[in-house]
């Protein structure tokens, strides 16, 4: 199972605009697909944020796990406008 990780950070706002983990490739999902996905998303999230809130995007296309800026939240380390977005995932 392979995932693609995308991360985008804007230094002028201090905002993590995109942090998403997509499953790539075709085929029948492994039985432990979700567990493996959860594990890697958790590891990735903690690189950037200690107590990341992970959300899944159920509106994503089949086999595509993604996060968008719509689910943005602000656990920012700073008192003012530093929004950060956590890795989000969706499952088919």
């Amino acid at each position: 199972m392979r995932v693609r990780v995308r991360f985008r950070f804007r230094a002028d706002t201090g905002e993590v605009e995109v942090y998403e983990v997509d499953t790539v490739g075709q085929g029948v999902p492994a039985p432990d697909h979700d567990a493996r996905h959860d594990r890697v998303v958790g590891l990735l999230a903690r690189v950037v944020e200690e107590n990341a809130e992970i959300e899944e995007d159920l509106s994503a296309a089949p086999r595509r796990d993604r996060g968008t800026g719509d689910a943005r939240r602000s656990p920012a380390p700073l008192p003012e406008p530093a929004g950060q977005e956590s890795p989000e995932r969706g499952r088919e």
């Binding site: 995932v3 991360f7 950070f9 002028d12 706002t13 201090g14 950037v48 200690e50 380390p77 003012e80």
Partner: protein, 256 residues
């Protein structure tokens, strides 16, 4: 008119000159007073541990950040921003400063008497062929000149006595004037500091914006280093990383 002729008179006088003066000393205390307002935010519990671990190196490589005993510090207009690696705290400080000057004075009345024998010489000029400038007139002139010099000698002696009295009292008066100056300076400083803190507080928001912008640039470096280290340690492929116009983008693929 022929050549002038001179008469010199030497006067000697036993003088007793009483004097009374005030010796005054002034001490000035001057210094810069700073008022501060600050926000301290802990990054621990929010920023991920790998990114926190990458921050010191990111600070060290970022221009304008200076490593101090407290942490990494960068000046901002009207203040500064400081990151403390030991506590993972970001401190944004607005400052306002002013120069305060206070004066303390101390004085003491001193008196004494100069009793001594003074000598002085006076001079007068006369001409044989000048009816107004006679020898008798020159003698009176020389006598008056000698008297004037006697008085001047007495006054000089009094000034010396006053100076000596001032030197004797200098340490004591300086200490008293210094105490008065210290007390005045402490009062002035306390009043001024309160106003400066208020001024700093009103500027804290603006300082905070500039400070955060500076910090976010370093945070971007730390995010980059931490994510790329994570990716490489897990054998990621297709790693792409770009930084343009303040936007950091990273992409990679992992087998999980």
């Amino acid at each position: 008119m022929c050549n002038p002729r001179r008469i010199r008179v030497r006067a000697t006088r036993e003088l007793a000159l009483a004097w009374e003066e005030e010796v005054r000393r002034t001490v000035v205390r001057r210094g810069e007073v700073v008022g501060e307002a600050r926000i301290t935010e802990s990054l621990r519990g929010t920023v991920g541990a790998p990114t926190l671990a990458a921050l010191p190196r990111a600070f060290a490589g970022s221009p304008g950040w200076r490593e101090t005993d407290e942490g990494y510090r960068h000046p901002v207009g009207g203040g500064y921003v400081l990151y403390r690696p030991d506590t993972a705290e970001l401190e944004i400080v607005a400052t306002a400063s002013a120069v305060v000057e206070s004066v303390g004075e101390a004085s003491r009345a001193v008196s004494g008497e100069v009793r001594d024998t003074f000598e002085a010489q006076g001079e007068g000029v006369w001409y044989d062929d000048e009816p107004g400038l006679t020898q008798a007139r020159a003698r009176r002139q020389a006598q008056a000149d000698a008297e004037l010099r006697l008085r001047q000698a007495g006054e000089r002696r009094i000034r010396e006595e006053v100076e000596r009295a001032g030197e004797r009292l200098a340490a004591e008066l300086d200490a008293a004037a210094g105490s008065a100056a210290d007390a005045a300076y402490a009062r002035a400083t306390a009043e001024r500091e309160a106003r400066l803190r208020s001024d700093a507080a009103t500027r804290l928001a603006a300082v905070g914006v500039a400070a955060r912008n500076l910090f976010h640039e370093v945070l971007a470096v730390a995010y980059r280093d931490a994510l790329l280290a994570f990716a490489r340690s897990r054998g990621a492929e297709g790693i792409r990383c770009s930084e343009r116009d303040g936007v950091l983008e990273i992409e990679f693929e992992l087998d999980v």
